[in-house]
């Protein structure tokens, strides 16, 4: 069975909007064991979209089409698909009264309440455009609104139920992700290459800023069989990288740290210079972070490093703001000003300005500490990508700092060599 996702909209073809709907749908399908074979994007033009849907009907068994269900002149999906399938339209009093109840007498009421005479209707509980599904000579078409919150609400509630009913699958795809922090892709790759893989298991390696994800994919009748199938491979990887692996439902290291801090009832606070609040912002994005996160001192200027964190003038003069003595004094400042049991301090050259021969762009001084213990401090030498180097250096610094703190709390290990 082959699935094609079709998204519609000039804004997706002008680069204005990134195609997050395709990502959401394919991710959700995979969660339920379905694999997406094709994805395509068409402009808001009737003829092009019609041809695209025809082509998709030839190569795919299930078409998931998002967008073009609204009331404006650009919205052609309902018309094109019902024409293709030769289905008439009718007015639905039920949908009209539901929309009216929620939005009042809106101008698009008539249009949004006009639905195909046959097929399935998915209620839109967020916006106004209902979704539809049609069975057509052993194939199926699902039409969904393009607004992400409306699509997402409708997809799991209605579309996934329809798909599972009409395309039940025996052998599902199962994928497990292993998250690894603080290790370079090349080291992990070297191990993966030595693993003997059975035919029905594939490995993937996905490096990101400061962490790497390894995927193990297989097909199985159920979760239990899948777990059994991949357990051997998983154990080999887990054993090799034990102290670098973190458990995180969304793959992010701050999520792992968040869960661990809540469990261990520790408190954290940061002092950030070059990352400028990126560490704090990542933590505060997670709900319940108030249980352990006290705050952060974004001492971007040297004046604030001195006045707030009490980094000494002499340290800044002798060693510079990007130095181990500076980040160690920043840690001390955090412990003095808060009740945190753990602290992170970071000061570095994110570029493009500020670099010297001795401290090029990507030189980051980082300190991670448990109150009362010796401070674990050292330098990172990050390369950053060609473009957006500043952002990628900040992103990597944050993830590495979290990795070091996670490892310290979970395994009581230092990261930097003495």
């Amino acid at each position: 069975m082959k699935i094609e996702i079709i998204t519609i909209g000039n804004e997706l073809l002008s680069g204005k909007t990134i195609n997050s709907n395709t990502q959401y749908i394919s991710k959700t399908l995979l969660k339920f064991g379905y694999r997406t074979h094709f994805a395509s994007v068409y402009p808001d033009e009737k003829k092009e979209l019609e041809n695209g849907i025809k082509a998709a009907l030839k190569r795919a068994d299930l078409l998931i089409i998002t967008g073009g269900l609204g009331p404006t002149i650009d919205d052609n999906t309902k018309e094109i698909v019902t024409n293709l399938l030769k289905i008439d339209l009718k007015f639905s009093g039920d949908i009209a009264s539901d929309i009216e109840k929620r939005f009042g007498q809106i101008a698009s009421l008539q249009e949004q309440s006009t639905i195909p005479k046959s097929g399935f209707v998915f209620k839109n509980e967020v916006g106004t455009a209902p979704g539809f599904a049609f069975l057509h000579y052993g194939k199926a078409l699902i039409l969904l609104p393009g607004v992400p919150v409306e699509l997402e609400d409708m997809f799991e509630k209605h579309a996934m139920v329809f798909i599972q009913k009409h395309f039940p699958i025996k052998e599902k795809i199962y994928q497990e992700i292993i998250n690894i922090c603080l290790l370079a892709e090349i080291k992990i790759d070297a191990l993966l290459k030595t693993i003997q893989l059975p035919d029905d298991i594939t490995l993937g390696i996905y490096p990101s800023y400061g962490f790497v994800q390894v995927s193990i994919t297989t097909k199985a009748l159920n979760k239990m069989e899948a777990t059994k199938k991949i357990s051997d491979i998983k154990n080999q990887i887990a054993l090799e990288f034990a102290e670098y692996i973190y458990i995180s439902e969304d793959g992010k290291i701050e999520r792992a740290l968040h869960d661990l801090l809540i469990k261990k009832e520790e408190k954290i606070a940061f002092a950030e210079s070059c990352t400028g609040g990126a560490l704090s912002a990542k933590i505060v994005k997670l709900s319940d972070s108030s249980k352990y996160f006290l705050g952060s001192f974004i001492t971007y200027s040297n004046e604030l490093k001195k006045n707030i964190l009490k980094v000494s003038e002499k340290t800044l003069l002798d060693h510079g703001a990007v130095s181990l003595p500076t980040v160690k004094e920043m840690i001390k400042g955090v412990f003095d000003l808060t009740d945190a049991t753990y602290a992170i301090a970071v000061s570095g050259i994110a570029g493009p300005g500020g670099a010297t021969e001795e401290k090029p762009i990507g030189t980051i001084s980082l300190a991670v500490a448990k109150r009362g213990d010796e401070i674990d401090a050292g330098f990172l030498h990050l390369k950053g990508s060609l473009k957006g180097s500043r952002s990628s250096i900040i992103e990597s610094s944050a993830n590495i700092a979290f990795g070091i703190l996670y490892r310290k709390i979970a395994h009581n290990l230092n990261y930097f060599e003495k």
Copy 2:
């Protein structure tokens, strides 16, 4: 002339990776006046990709294919395209010695230095896989590496030059974006609907978190003609929303604020609670922000609000952390602790916890001030989307705060009613 972007990779069809290459390419093409007609994604499977390229050759004149040029077993693009076009491969000593110079004797040297006997070769100055271009019966195919930094480096340097040479365009597409902060989409939309549009001008409206972008698109022979064509429409919009419009090369309000602060030589600092460093992190992402950004106090806990910013115990008890007296005292704390000439303080309920009947999720107390002037403070009532409501509330709060500060510095206007 029709352009199709083809991206390749199972990770794009499993939702693992978002398709940023399609966005980058279509955006860059538009910058040079070219419109993308189709975009499609294929798995790492020879047959599917081959069929996809064949289908694209039928409907498009220019195919831009990214990915699948590496040395591994998954990388089939070079082979498929040269087979289709009946072009033999040869070893290139030039490319081999260039790769060797930069990366040494790598295992993939032979494979990456094997290139088509005819066509055009684009040097990869970042990684190892060169790009290629072919002319084929009036159509063209461009093959580029899938790694974003390699693609981006090669695209403007080589691919765009090739495209402009072989597909020169007379009438180019020009698009101008008007950025509007602090106004709801519905207000802007109401005005846009009253504007009489000539046939060859289209308007688009794109709401985001805390700001709205309006696009004016037309076709013209050159920039001057385009500017003239759209000037009337642009002026109508500009006149109506003058004090809400900001100039920003990337559309972001913090970029506009950044440029304004550097120009005016002002200094800023923040006190953040619910946004947890999001304001600071956005500012520090911009290089040269050290010229005006002093730092931020992320006083997430009430203890830090009291100990660092000197918010009084009584204020917190009487009014709560989310209140106008609290954010006003936070502003005072910022001015006392720094030399900032402007300050922002924000404290709110980002959810999902912490809400009360009186202060539901999305209630944000916000203060923006110029040193010495009365503090401009008030509440925002943000809805947030269904999912990810916490992130969207933080994002909106940050953008609205920046909008208020921008408007204050640029036009000396208060935002909140007295």
